[in-house]
Symmetry: C2
Subunit: 308 residues, 2 copies
């Protein structure tokens, strides 16, 4: 799957992933109105509004980007109907040719991680029928439980041609509390980075890159430089651009000399662009077009900084 992602990054010239993390306050009344009329004040109405909102954005940006990253928490908060909207979003993005990174941050002891891996990247067999429960192409994974919490995901990546991104250094302000603490003179995130390299060694595809990547926040460019060197064959998914404070010039260290090696996520900055003064002329009806303009601007910012 990493090879396919790289191919699509090359096609689009955009190492960009759009975070489909809808909040109700981002969704225009022209979408929520009909959903509430149809379903009342229910979780079903929220699920319907979220999916319609996503569909509008996906239609406008699918030719510009290789991948989307729905954050499952934003769907899970609306219970079963929210998760049904997540599943519909995955399917719709696939129809539109996009790669889907499920930002699920799952991780547990071995057999339980295996179940999460089946849920998001693999399949379950019911009698003689094989079913993909959620059907993402990549998933994010939490490393706190160590190798036996991560390896079941890698097994499913191998059997189903999928990939993962393991949390190494997250973009949030308190990520340093544990991740930056020194162990034998090295911060924990470097040890996790070394493990990512090790876990991913036997999972390289024809591109030469590993199906096991890492999450490293745009907010920590110096750490990105170190981790890029520690993990030469592991793609880095970079959150924290835009609303969280990361800028184009922070991104260069995450990429290798060929402009490969990283893919940068923006969520709110794209999907809620219509609420930004800069795109106010798009209006509510143009929320998806505002997202398109924000993607084009992000592409230019990144190209200038990384490849300029």
């Amino acid at each position: 799957m990493i090879g396919r992602l790289i191919e699509k990054i090359r096609e689009t010239g955009a190492p960009i992933v759009v975070g489909l993390d809808p909040q109700m306050k981002f969704i225009p009344g022209m979408i929520t109105g009909p959903a509430f009329s149809k379903y009342g004040e229910t979780l079903e109405a929220c699920g319907e509004a979220i999916f319609e909102f996503n569909r509008g954005i996906v239609d406008e940006v699918c030719d510009l980007i290789p991948a989307v990253k729905p954050q499952i928490a934003m769907y899970e908060q609306f219970g079963i109907p929210g998760l049904a909207a997540f599943r519909r979003t995955v399917d719709y993005c696939h129809e539109k040719g996009l790669i889907v990174i499920g930002d699920v941050k799952r991780g547990d002891i071995g057999s339980t991680s295996g179940s999460y891996a089946s849920a998001h990247l693999g399949s379950v067999t019911v009698g003689n029928t094989t079913i993909e429960p959620f059907g993402e192409d990549f998933a994010t994974v939490n490393p706190y439980l160590g190798s036996d919490g991560v390896k079941p995901f890698i097994d499913v990546c191998r059997s189903h041609g999928k990939g993962i991104f393991v949390l190494v250094k997250t973009s949030n302000p308190s990520s340093g509390e544990f991740q930056d603490r020194l162990i034998d003179g090295k911060p924990l995130y470097e040890l996790v980075g070394e493990k990512v390299r090790e876990w991913g060694e036997d999972a390289c595809d024809e591109s030469g890159w590993s199906e096991v990547g890492a999450v490293v926040g745009a907010t920590y460019p110096e750490m990105g430089r170190t981790l890029r060197a520690i993990m030469p064959k592991n793609y880095i998914l970079v959150p924290g651009y835009g609303a969280q404070g990361g800028t184009g010039k922070d991104l260069k260290p995450f990429f290798d000399g060929d402009g490969l090696g990283a893919i940068v996520n923006s969520s709110r900055g794209i999907i809620a662009a219509w609420q930004n003064e800069k795109y106010a002329d798009c209006g509510e009806a143009g929320y998806a077009y505002a997202a398109r303009r924000a993607v084009l601007e992000m592409k230019e910012d990144i190209s200038g900084a990384v490849f300029g």
Copy 2:
């Protein structure tokens, strides 16, 4: 909620939680048969079988124990219908007076953790309607992202009278890879334990115990002793008893002098007891009664070792 849990532990005399982690291979044909007849080879059939299996066990053990702990991965692997079975299980356990610990191991950056907290412990507001998406009483939380990944859960605990158990030292073999590494001479799990104490300080209820507890595996009793001392007001949820290798005598260090401070989980050892030679006389039809006998035996084992 921690006060209610302690009250129920006292009532039942059982610091025991039954892990409702159903696998299809644990479910007798008398349950799967009708589910597959009705729904075919679908995820709906799996969800129906899982719920019916759980219901039988809950009916047999609900007078013996204070709480259950469904592991959401076992439901998530069956997609939306699996998660609907999770929600039905939570509701049914509540009807039967049980406290429900959602073993969800969620954790993300601040605002996203807030969404997970609303999903599992809190509520969302849709127009003028307030809805509890999953409705558990406690949830397990992953600490890798630091304070701003955990605090949104604590905010919801305060506003909704709920609790959490933060992963400190997990029961699996590779948990030591990161958790045992020394930082300034102290293992990471101790630092996380200190943070659990700190996070929980302002969240004690009338029992004097904190709504913020910790997960520490039964497979590491010496670490349990240390962590019990580091976190004097934080309850410990202890997985790893039974099938994972922990025994009654390993448990004493997790409890304080009053026999409080810990609650021990067993999953497979209870819910799949009917497949154990020891309870073979229960037969398939007596799978739930076998679970009851296994709970009674576990209660005796723990009482003897901890209070004997």
